[in-house]
Each structure stands twice: as C-alpha cells, then as structure tokens.
Symmetry: C2
Subunit: 225 residues, 2 copies
DNA sequence: CATATATGATAGTTTTACTATTATTTTTGT
DNA sequence: ACAAAAATAATAGTAAAACTATCATATATG
C-alpha cells in the first residue's frame, strides 16, 4: 500500500492547534519529531524543550503551533481517528455483505498496522503505539466537556457511528452498538498494552493474533439474538 | 451494609508509599483529603501543596508518606483492587452455581457502588470516580515494567485471575478469560466516563443500567460455545 | 521523665510550562 | 530583483510545580 493518499490530507479540528502544522516544514518537523520523541520517552517525560532540541528548533517556535503538550497529543489522536476513518471507508467500499464489512472494521480497529509512509512526515506505526499508551490521557481530564463542545471528539464519534451502523444493518434490534464499538477500540488498545507490559491481564496464544480473534468472536456473539 | 469490615484492613503493596498512611492519623487525613481533592479538581491539577492546605498540614509532611503524586494515585488504585477482591469473595461465598457467581462478579465490576463508610477515612463512591477517570494513568507510563516487577499490579491480576477461574468453570475450553475480564473492568470504567462526558460513544437507555446489562450479555454470549 | 519519633514551619533548588523581546532569515507580491 | 511581511531563531525571563533540607516543636513510648 504505497502513497495511495498522495493528494489528500487528514483534516484536524483547529481547536487543537494555534497554527496548522501541515502548513509549513517546521510544523511537519514538529509532528514528526513529537511522534518519535513521545513514543521513545513517554508523554510524561516529553517536553517542548526536548522536542525543540531534537528537531533543531526552539521552544518558542513550538509554542507558536501548539499551546501545550496536551494539545499536541490531542492533535495526534484526532489525526489518528481521521486516518482510521479514511481506512475504514477504503476497506469497506464496494463490499455488500454487512458481516464482511464488520469483520474488516474489527480487523482495522484491533490489529497493529503494518502499512507505512502514506504520509511522509507521519510514522503510523509509532503513532499507533502512542495511541495505545497515551490516548486515554487526552479525554481523561476535567477539560473534556469544553473540548467536546469545541468538536475535538467529533472524529472519534463519527468512526464509532459508522461501525455502529454496520452492526445495526446486521441486527437492527441490537441495543448497544456504540458501547460495543467503543469497548473494542479502547479494549484493543489496552490488550496490546497488557500483552507487552502486564501479560497476567490478558491471554497470549502463540501463532495467533489473540486480540483480533477475541474481539471478532466477541462482537459476532454479542450481536446475535 | 454497615461497618462489616470493622476489624480488617486492605493490604497495599509498600512500594507505593514511604510510610504507611494507615499507620497514623495524618496518614489517614492524607488519604481522605486526596480522595476529596483529586475527585474535585482532577489528577493533573492536584498538587501536594494544595492537598497540604486542605488537610491543614504541610507539603513536606505529605512527602514523608508518598514520594510523588503518581505514587499516591497508585496507592489508591491498589487499595481499590484490594477492596474489590474482598467484595468479590464476600459476594460469591457459598454460591454454588458458577453462572450465578459470574453474574455477581460482573455486577460488582461494572455497577456504580452505593455502599459507604466501611472504612472510616475512605469515601468509596468518590474513590470509584477517581478510578474511572484517573486509574489508567497509573499503568500507562514508561515505569510500568519496573512497577510490575515490584508487585504493584499483583492485586489487579489476582482479581482478574479469580473471575477468569469462574469463566473456566463454566466453559473450560474458553480461550480468552483474562482478556474478557480485563476488557469488562476497563470497559465499564470507560463507558461510565463516556456516559457522563462523551455520550456519543455509548448508548444510554433510560430506566436501565445499560453498562451492566451490556457487559452481562456480552460475557455470557462470549463464553458460550 | 528522658528519648525517640512525628509533624510543622520555613526556605531553598531544579525543572517545567509558558511569555516577551529583539534579531535574523525566508517568503511573497509586484 | 527587491521591499515588505511573515516566520523562525536566539535569548531571557516569570510563575508554578516538584521536590529536598533544616531546624523547631509537639507527641508518643519505654
């Protein structure tokens, strides 16, 4: 899957930035550098000073793009939801069977990504690691309601809504489609984290992608009458 | 359910504290005060200086009990897992049917708690709100592996292990019991948070505890052959 | 009642998060 | 090609947070 998105870009809610990082080379270096650095040292240890040093710029310049490191992480997660939604549309296009569409959606939402380099300055694999380890910190704050009003979570809700719609195509009487979808998205992140760091909280089955298998079976059982 | 634990206390891994807060009145004020304050202002805005002020002590005194606010939050979550495990044992004691035990376990893990005051200095309802909004921040750090080695997550794993054992009693061939249990624990927290702040990510059904109903149905469907 | 221990009062250090100012470089319109 | 505008760099500074240290005082204990 190479460069198939060469002329499109993921729209990110401007609430998360002061100046669009897509609009300049420095902005792109900030994004690329922050993905590298957050993945490497973790969000708590990440500072704009360290970022400036790695991308050979200055703290003040970074602050012209992002008001805080929290907003930068927010930007990255919004971008990721947009990226997921794009792939979702791509992967379910022209498929008639809702069961097959749902299966593909679950794979997208639970499998580690291997594709790369659709966007020159974004390392999707590292970004996904950041999403797994850091993304709950974006919404688990006292500012979540304001941010929600500002539209920060629209992309996430759209994605959940799209997958929910497929579930309702399969079973129009199923009562909890959104719950099921957000459970598998957040759950898959947790399970990947547990597999790496707290294996006692998960089940690792050799020669099998247990996370995807587990959620696939779970979803199809849950929505059956 | 009143004071039925008058002579027992929840053991917390000493890795999380410098001096046992259960061992002194000041220690108990630190715990009580931090539960109030973290619930009110959120973990990011919480500082030892603010805590000291609310409990009428000093920053330096708080630091004699906890090395950092991260360790304090860790202490609270370890205590909560111990509390849950105790309740789990209590609620499943003398029940023969594994289905009934599992049902009770799911209720315990997914329902908001209403009982109170079993432990004088701990407000369990507020503590649960903290667990919902802040507990992933305990393990989602670069220090998780060291902490795990130090036994910080033993209580969580024990709890997950106990519920998994019931699942295996019902279906010895089920491959993912730990995954299923940790999915419902973390999932229920997320869904409660979403219901309050990001309702587009969940399904609120009036006159019904949708979270508990959803996970009960999900689990029993998942473990069926 | 002497001694040890816990807490309080106070002050200090380092780091982070962020703002302000001016100089220099790069971009853009004509 | 060049002047004006915009972006970035260089530098410095402030406020608060996250600790650490010291000494005085209170409380508990043997």
């Amino acid at each position: 899957m190479k460069k198939f998105l060469s002329n499109i870009s993921i729209q990110v809610n401007p609430h998360s930035y002061l100046k669009d990082p897509e609009s300049s080379p420095l902005g792109k270096r900030i994004i690329a550098g922050s993905i590298e650095l957050i993945e490497e040292i973790g969000f708590e240890n990440f500072t704009f000073q360290k970022l400036a040093k790695t991308i050979k710029s200055t703290e003040a310049s970074v602050y012209r793009y992002f008001e805080s490191k929290h907003k930068l992480l927010q930007y990255l997660t919004i971008w990721y939801w947009g990226w997921l939604e794009y792939h979702f549309i791509f992967k379910t296009a022209n498929i008639d069977s809702p069961e097959e569409k749902l299966k593909r959606a679950i794979i997208l939402l639970t499998k580690p990504i291997d594709e790369d380099h659709s966007f020159a300055h974004i390392n999707e694999v590292k970004l996904q690691n950041i999403i797994i380890s850091e993304s709950p910190k974006v919404f688990l704050t006292k500012e979540v309601d304001q941010e929600n009003k500002a539209g920060v979570y629209t992309g996430y809700k759209m994605l959940v809504g799209r997958v929910s719609d497929i579930i309702l195509e399969i079973n129009p009487n199923y009562k909890y489609p959104h719950m099921l979808v957000s459970t598998i998205i957040e759950g898959a992140h947790n399970q990947r984290f547990f597999a790496d760091h707290l294996p006692g909280l998960t089940d690792i089955v050799k020669g099998e992608d247990a996370v995807t298998e587990f959620y696939k079976a779970m979803v199809f059982h849950a929505i059956k009458d």
